[in-house]
Amino acid sequence: MAVHIVEGSFDPNRYQAEHEASLVAGSFGATANFIGTMRHINEGDEVTGMTLEHYPGMTEKELENIISDACEQWRLIDALIVHRVGPMTPGEPIVLTTVWSMHRKDAFEAVRFLMEALKSRAPFWKKETLANGRSRWVEKNTPGY
């Protein structure tokens, strides 16, 4: 199980591949992931940039708790969460959650749980810069279910 908080652009496929290389080949039959990417439109406005603030220490602890909770609910071989912080631009990855399990049911359900739990429990906050030069804090998440 691993949690990474990353400053600067990151390649989710590389993180997933490097983590998967540490697993025993043949030990898992299902891999499911979710990649969240920054959009250039939010609330009907053009967004040119965004800065992600977080609470160092609590963020990592909460993400580890979320993975532990998932392991109690589903039979998982391994799980990975990577989340970016700091300034970014549209089109760049924000978050990666990946789950490895024996069968697809556990992988599909657990990877969704990781994302939904992350969005309500892990202390991250987004501040957008709009095309008109103004900036604003994002006040709520879009519904996941």
Binding site: G57, M58, E62, M115, A122, F124, W125
Partner: protein, 77 residues
Amino acid sequence: MAIQVKFFASLKEDIPDALREVNSEDVATVADVWAAATGIKEPPAHVVCSVNHSHEPVTHPVKEGDEVAFFPPITGG
């Protein structure tokens, strides 16, 4: 005798003069810490609280050495 207080995101901007440390002898709960640090009687309903990196309600007791944080609703991912 101190309790560390942290504010994040929009709260940090909205109340920039809030104290970052309060005397543990003056407070019993998270709500007391808010009032002592900000001078505002109660935290707004949308404010989220944590003690020592764990989510807690405003009624949670506090003690010397605790780190109490206040922040707006989470918007990561």
